[in-house]
């Protein structure tokens, strides 16, 4: 393969809603934030959007995980109960989104005149989504590299650090150094759950304390969502049997355990 064939035929237009330190957030999630702002709770927001509570709750957790500080604060009362309101960070996000949308509306006729792709298509390519259930914003604290591997320590929230082991080449490609903002992707099936203090002698790099926020079973598998503090959540899929053996239920303090090699890092 020659050098030339590696170059794309024409550069792809890529538009992302992101300020410094913010990862792309798509239109449907902005609509969720706005609905919560307008209706004061996730339950009423879901009703207004014609969506399930679960879908909105998940979507808003994903937004909170991707921002340096959460866009939304939930009041006591928990699932279905208490209210929720936007934070300063959430209001900024919505305002930025609308400024971008207004600018897009201005240039839409120009693009149409040139026979370009419909503007909506452009917009939907904005925020790449991955299948990884856990996408957490983080700031690189340190990078320790050997000839082959690089151990990257991230801070995802005050007092919450994640260690990722990736190849040295990947670390160099992403330009990873202290201060760099990244997103840590962790598949839910890579996350183990242990009762608090019960897995002290285990060779696992990441040990994140949290409380069970939600448990969903299908008879074979079980999805556990943990509240890990600072508005962040972490999902784990484990077997139904294990969930029963650990008697996992909302409110229970537990630890999420995952290997450093199971963390994928993405940088803008």
């Amino acid at each position: 393969m020659t050098e030339e064939t590696l170059q794309p035929a024409c550069p792809e237009a890529f538009l992302a809603l992101r300020a410094a330190g913010q990862m792309p957030v798509g239109r449907e999630r902005i609509a969720m934030l706005e609905a919560v702002a307008a209706h004061g709770s996730i339950t009423s927001a879901a009703r207004a959007l014609g969506m399930s509570y679960k879908a909105v709750w998940d979507g808003l957790n994903a937004v909170n995980n991707l921002l340096p500080t959460p866009a939304l604060e939930a009041h006591a009362g928990g699932r279905g109960g208490g209210g929720a309101r936007l934070t300063e960070s959430g209001r900024h996000l919505i305002a930025a989104f609308h400024r971008l949308e207004a600018k897009l509306a201005e240039i839409t006729p120009l693009l149409a005149g040139e026979g370009g792709a419909p503007i909506d298509l452009l917009f939907w390519s904005v925020a790449m989504k991955t299948s990884a259930r856990n996408a957490l914003y983080g700031r690189v604290v340190s990078v320790a590299a050997t000839e082959v591997a690089a151990e990257v320590t991230l801070s995802v929230a005050p007092g919450r650090e994640i260690v990722a082991v990736i190849t040295r080449r990947s670390a160099e490609n992403l330009g990873l150094a202290a201060g760099r903002e990244v997103v840590a992707l962790i598949k839910a099936s890579f996350v183990l759950i242990a009762r608090e203090g019960e897995a002290a002698g285990l060779s696992v790099a990441n040990r994140i304390p949290g409380t069970v926020a939600e448990r969903r079973d299908d008879g074979v598998s079980c999805e556990i969502v943990l509240d890990i503090g600072a508005g962040k959540t972490l999902a784990a899929t484990i077997t139904h049997r294990s969930a029963e053996a650990l008697a996992l239920a909302p409110g229970l303090p537990v630890e999420a355990l995952f290997d450093a090699a199971h963390v994928i890092l993405a940088a803008g």
């Binding site: 183990l192 242990a194 060779s203 077997t239 294990s242 969930a243 355990l257």
Partner: protein, 68 residues
């Protein structure tokens, strides 16, 4: 150990081979079966793993490949 991993195989450590960053720990789980774990050198030090120790190989069910 109360942990969600379905597979917890106890055995005796028969070898700890340290590399630049990673160690290979071999655990004899009986019946002539040996499980090899690739863990960081730090983890080996934290657990003070050495030959002759009793240790447990912990494997999440979703991480097990099945061959036939």
């Amino acid at each position: 150990m109360k942990i969600s991993a379905r597979n917890q195989l106890e055995g005796k450590v028969v070898a700890v081979q340290k590399g630049a960053t990673t160690s290979h720990v071999r655990i004899d789980i009986g019946g002539g079966k040996i499980i090899t774990a690739s863990i960081t050198n730090e983890a080996v030090d934290d657990l003070a793993l050495k030959v002759g120790d009793t240790a447990c190989a912990v494997v999440k069910a979703s991480d097990v490949m099945v061959g036939k």
